[in-house]
Amino acid sequence: MLKVKDIHTYYDDSYILQGVDLEVSAGEIVCLLGRNGAGKSTTIKSIVGYNHPRKGSITFLGQEISKQSAFKNVRLGLGYVPEDRRIFSELTVQENFEVSFNDKTEIRWSIDDLFSTFPLLDKFRHRKGGELSGGEQQMVAIARALAGQPKLLLLDEPCEGLAPVIVEQLGEIILRLKEHFPILLAEQNAHFALEISDRGYVIDKGLICFSGTQQELQNNEEIKTRYLSV
């Protein structure tokens, strides 16, 4: 479904991704693990289209998207939840969903569906996004991505700064969403990620240094201590 092949991405002159390969197929949750600054967010941003790789290819649903603007990729079916959530703080929760709503495609999530999927948000419907707490915003960010009717969801560190009880809930939500589309999850929190994903990649210094199933990752002590410091 998504195929990233040997991408090289820079911020100005600094060479960040030095040939990243990864794949996500239908029906799976794939996690991208790596320590701080390893290049997880950069990978996600390259896929979404914020930071075009100078070399390499990204294909999504058979279409080359590595040079395409973010908004086009999102309309094509990439749902993006950024690491800092970025709720439209002056818009109400409902308006956040409305502006993200993609009506040019088959509609799988109506706005009401979103509120029923995240019942917690219902009472904040007309509250401004900026007035919500971090956890509440994270819900909004995920729901907002759903409003774009994604065919694949990119989640960048969804549990950063969230309370354990919320993280738990989040894990459940992500597992539920898996029934609808595959998910690429960038995480530092390997405990959390490995618990819910089927497969995983480990990235370090802009290179994928390991990939394998959940089991393989769980069992590979070397990787765990060297790259994940678990």
Partner: protein, 286 residues
């Protein structure tokens, strides 16, 4: 008593013109984050283009319709080739770039239409006089008093009740994330600048029957619109409305009470408001 009424009308008609200019300025600032120094020049351009179309077709209404649209074309060029490159750069760079645009537009107009004064006649139906409080009052001014709230109301409805309007507001709060939810941000920016240009040029076309056209006619109005925008709260739509009315009325009544300090009225208003409410009267929010 009559003077009071007349001064209110005078203040309102000037205020409404200011509002049209300021609302464009504030929208462009709110979304693009650029405080456009050349906005006054687009106002001026609107007036000249209105005059030119009027001369061609001999109709004020056509001038009002076509003139601002031609200005929008110029605005699109400016956005595409210049402004695009300074989004997100420091305020000082944006001010300098738009200042350069101001210099270019003002002088170009002077080269094309000459430095002499031009006048535009109001259309026949608005050219009359009606009696207000025992004094003759031009109908055209009343027309201005009405058109401001009309356009303002339409814009407000657009921003708050249409999807496009909400999308524009979203892009104004966080353009990067707006892209991430599938919004074509460059297109939004271009459209918003076009809208801002259109509002400025429309203001110019509406002002044309009131004041003589010279290339520098945007200079006074740009500073006053800056003041309106800041007083109302940068990017705030109701703020622009309230600010413009306040300034219009103050200037009108200033002729009665301010004596020699009339010139300072806008600046005193600006200083007082910013001291009391540092972010302007209304919080950000288109």
């Amino acid at each position: 008593m009559e003077i009071l009424l007349l001064n209110i009308l005078n203040g309102l008609s000037w205020g409404m013109l200011l509002f049209l200019i300021a609302v464009g300025l504030t929208t462009v600032f709110g979304v693009l984050g650029v405080l456009n120094f050349a906005h006054g020049s687009l106002f001026m351009l609107g007036a000249y283009l209105c005059m030119q179309t009027m001369q061609l077709f001999d109709s004020f209404w056509l001038g009002l319709l076509i003139g601002p649209l031609c200005a929008v074309f110029v605005g699109l060029l400016i956005e595409k080739f210049l402004l695009k490159r300074v989004y997100g750069r420091d305020v000082s760079f944006q001010l300098l770039l738009t200042f350069a645009v101001l210099l270019i537009l003002d002088d170009a107009v002077r080269v094309i239409w000459g430095s002499g004064y031009h006048v535009v006649e109001p259309p026949a139906i608005l050219n009359g006089i009606i009696s207000v409080a025992g004094q003759d009052y031009p109908v055209y001014r009343l027309f201005l008093v009405l058109i401001g709230p009309l356009i303002g109301g339409l814009l407000w409805a657009f921003f708050h009740y249409t999807k496009w309007g909400k999308i524009i507001r979203a892009a104004s709060f966080d353009n990067i994330m707006a892209e991430g939810v599938g919004i074509n941000v460059p297109l939004i920016y271009t459209s918003v600048f076009a809208l801002g240009t259109w509002l400025a040029a429309l203001g110019g076309a509406l002002a044309a029957p009131q004041q003589s056209l010279i290339p520098s006619m945007g200079e006074k109005i740009i500073i006053e619109s800056f003041i309106v925008v800041v007083v109302g709260g940068m990017g705030s739509f109701p703020g622009a409305f309230v600010g413009a009315l306040m300034l219009g009325l103050l200037e009108s009544f200033g002729t009665v009470f301010a004596g020699r300090m009339q010139m300072a009225i806008p600046y005193i208003l600006l200083a007082v408001i910013l001291l009391v409410k540092p972010t302007g009267l209304f919080r950000k929010g288109v």
